[in-house]
Symmetry: D5
Subunit: 134 residues, 10 copies
């Protein structure tokens, strides 16, 4: 595992802290190693969060993701660990991480974990009709 990840993850001040808004980041190029066999694993990550005081800086996020390339990591554990590191660095109002792993043994695995700040409540959802034509 990369040591001191929160040092690697840089942040910048939230430009609109008076409003809940959502940042969705898709990272198709996550790769680590299977601890059991030493062979490469691949996943697409989706990070969705409502920032509080800070946002994650994208270049440092890319380097943080890259730091797992030669580390052994189980699917369930690594998803929760990345979420934990990001929460520690960004301290968001809400954050969800989805890790969508490539097929192994004919089986596809996806892990989804969430963090919610104490006392934070989302605004009631306004359901707009979805677009019906591309």
């Amino acid at each position: 595992m990369p040591s001191q990840p929160s040092k690697i993850l840089d942040t910048f001040p939230n430009p609109q802290p008076d409003r809940d808004f959502t940042i969705h980041i898709r990272i198709p190029e996550f790769s680590c190693l299977c601890p059991a066999t030493g062979q490469p694993d691949f996943a697409e990550l989706h990070l969705q969060y409502v920032p509080d005081g800070t946002c994650v800086e994208l270049k440092s996020l890319k380097n943080y993701i890259w730091s797992y390339r030669n580390e052994g990591a189980y699917h369930e554990a690594v998803t929760n660990r990345i979420l934990g590191d990001l929460v520690a660095a960004v301290n968001p109002r809400f954050m969800r991480l989805t890790a969508d792993f490539n097929v192994r043994g004919g089986i596809y695995t996806q892990v989804v974990a969430e963090h919610r700040a104490d006392g934070w409540t989302p605004a009631p959802r306004v359901d707009l009709p979805p677009p019906m034509r591309d």
Copy 2:
């Protein structure tokens, strides 16, 4: 039916038991036999669960699924039985199994069953806007 399935299904400790998170496993290669005709049936399974103390180990899951290959099984019954075996082995907070069978007689059948642990309540959902472009 395979005897003693809970012996075949291995587990490992949940790496983050203090948090509700979701594991989604897609298994495109389920096959069994039709009890009426003896001919092969095929389905894609989707297993979604919130682990409590343990998670299902993927290799044993693959072997468990494989053990149905030469067994007769009706769509509705086998979906509920697999869910029951997985609940017995993993004891999850929540589990949903979807079995999507190939067309027979011009008709497509899908069966969906859920288990919820007594007293477990999901956290209120945070509706993030879905991505709008691939």
Copy 3:
């Protein structure tokens, strides 16, 4: 209209009556005749239900659907009638029928009808995040 449809629709005992679960049946090959012009109409049907004591047997369902082939039927009426026949035969906790008709006069029509047993309440939905990659 076919006479005595509930006799044609066979059932079998629900293998897991202690649990609410869902059966989704897709029938792409419904065809009847337009009562106004006598010309063929085509639709894809979706039947979704939560069984109580019995489930509908698929071969009899195929024959029941086939029995409309040379009958005149309006879109709105025939969707409600098929739902009524299926409810009478299966007596489900919940049932929804969707009929998706082919284009006529440059216009596409879909009819959706539901039945809910008195006193039945669905379990609160557990919203699992949808898979993000195929």
Copy 4:
């Protein structure tokens, strides 16, 4: 604008007035003229409604839609006007009209308007899991 549209829009009695059910009509061939430039505009309409005493007859609906072909109409106004005409003719429990206009100036516009009869409340939704495979 077409005069006396409610006369053009024919109806027939709802065949199942004791049950809330939904009719979804897709009309890909709406065309009118831009009031500013006189040039043709094109849209795909989606009409979704829960009928009360009557349903809209499809041939008259086609002719009503056709009557806008050489009329000038702004996107926002014409969507609300068509909804108003249909509500006046059909008197539904609920009706939603979506107008999805073709790109103009590199921008795509969609307008969605709804009508709900006084005192009508929809039945609580039963969330069935969506199909996971086509």
Copy 5:
């Protein structure tokens, strides 16, 4: 940043102010410059709003969007700023802006922000079943 944007954004009176309805505008051609590198950035914008007294005029919206072409702008800040300008010009009951940026450094970013007028509450959603066939 463009000066006095609310002057550029023209409006016209809402043709149906007695009813909440939704306008969805898709703008695939947003482009600005990266403040760090000076290189072009590209995004697709989705604007969804419920108008109150006025609607945004499309040609002025196109010109407003175009005014960012040679301005430096960070993803998170520019999304919130455009929403702010549109809210100031249109004063809607509700407005949501989604900005879907092109990939940079192997990472895709989407920002979603909303504004809700004080005291406005959306009507309870009527969930119509989605169409099941294209």
Copy 6:
């Protein structure tokens, strides 16, 4: 089999006989009966032809296709028979018929047959690059 099909198939004069051009007709609603079981079969037909003196009239084509609805017909034989009837009625320079049958027994069948008038040679193909974006 329908008797005297060439009488049913009406034609009109080719409006541009001095030029080879292609007419492609897609018919998603072909239905006949399986001679072995008496149950309905369904197919989508594609008719592609280069007319000589006459073109097939669409309403008579629709009625001709409809005339198979209650006839028994094997996949391979009926495709060749329909091609033969159309060639007899239209006398084209070239004609290809594709019949794409719905799944039966887990197997999908498509039959393709062609007719070419004696002495007719197609112009050498000009390969234009296909569009690369929708």
Copy 7:
């Protein structure tokens, strides 16, 4: 039919007459009237051509297409007529017109016609492997 179409269709000089190159123009908004019923017809046109001395100017092309809006026109004849008008105006080395009409009577029709200048021969095609991933 519009009178003197070649006057409506403006052209500009080919900027690279020493090289065969291809222009592909997609026009999703063609509409005319059915001569038999007077009702609107709709088609998507694809124009592909190798210019010689001139290219067609897009605004005049849009107006030319628009001029058919209230004219009666049969599918096969109008496709050949538009091709003829464009050939007369542009005098290309090669031109292909595809007209893809909306469904009528459950049947989809597409007409494709080509013109090739006397003595023109396309360069032998260089078959590049198509991209395998989007």
Copy 8:
């Protein structure tokens, strides 16, 4: 391997032997065992052929395919063997078999083999423009 496969594969006389035509059969449910590991393999087969005196009967083809379910078979060998059995049974003018195996070890394999009868030459292809809209 199944013994005497050509006895299992029934045929029926070609209904149009005076014309080359093509039969395309898609079989999504092929399964055999990996000779190395004993675990199940899955493939989708495509059989395309130009019949001479006989066609393959579909029910016997289904049973023949089914007979591999518990046999060990390598991808490359089994594709060629099935083609050989079908050629021996049907004696076609031309036959192509494509076997599209499910992913193993992160790698997808497809094998394509063809047989052509001595002296048979296909008619020169008539290239019709492909449809441009679905």
Copy 9:
């Protein structure tokens, strides 16, 4: 137009000059200005080429493409000019440029131009069957 483009376009030596091979480069972010209106235009470019002595360096290609951002350019002329600049810089055996412009006035335009070195002939194509399943 950018001055001295061939100076901007850097190259590197072809690593395998003894073999014809193909490089396909997709550039979704081309933007220039319309010379008539001064408004932005957008296109996706596809560059396909068989290198001879040199290949184009990607970073300089990105900067070259970027240099058109504030230049006026007509669709047909700019496509041929970019091809000319690339041919001058890289001197390839074969090169094809496709420019796929965004919709304007309801019309989509794509321009395709090719260059072939004197005396170069492509190897005869080996047609491999395309994959049939994703």
Copy 10:
């Protein structure tokens, strides 16, 4: 670069050397390092070949691909090198390698290279009509 790759690539005898047939292998998980920046690159490889005396063994192919994980490699050079190694190991009649790299700097690159054994000529292609419906 991995040393002695032809030692890593195992082969097995072609089970049907008397017939030209095609093996298509898709490898979505190729990863190497950018020699300029040291950052990871990702590609999907497609290997298509007509075997002569031997076929490539899949497990050794997986390990060979994996051996590039921590090696620096330029797109154009590495594609040609992998093709060279595979040709040396398998000695095929024909082989094509496609490498489809992930986006870098807003630009997508794909490299395609082929090898053909001296004196080998493919059989003339039999063009079967492609399936028209999924």
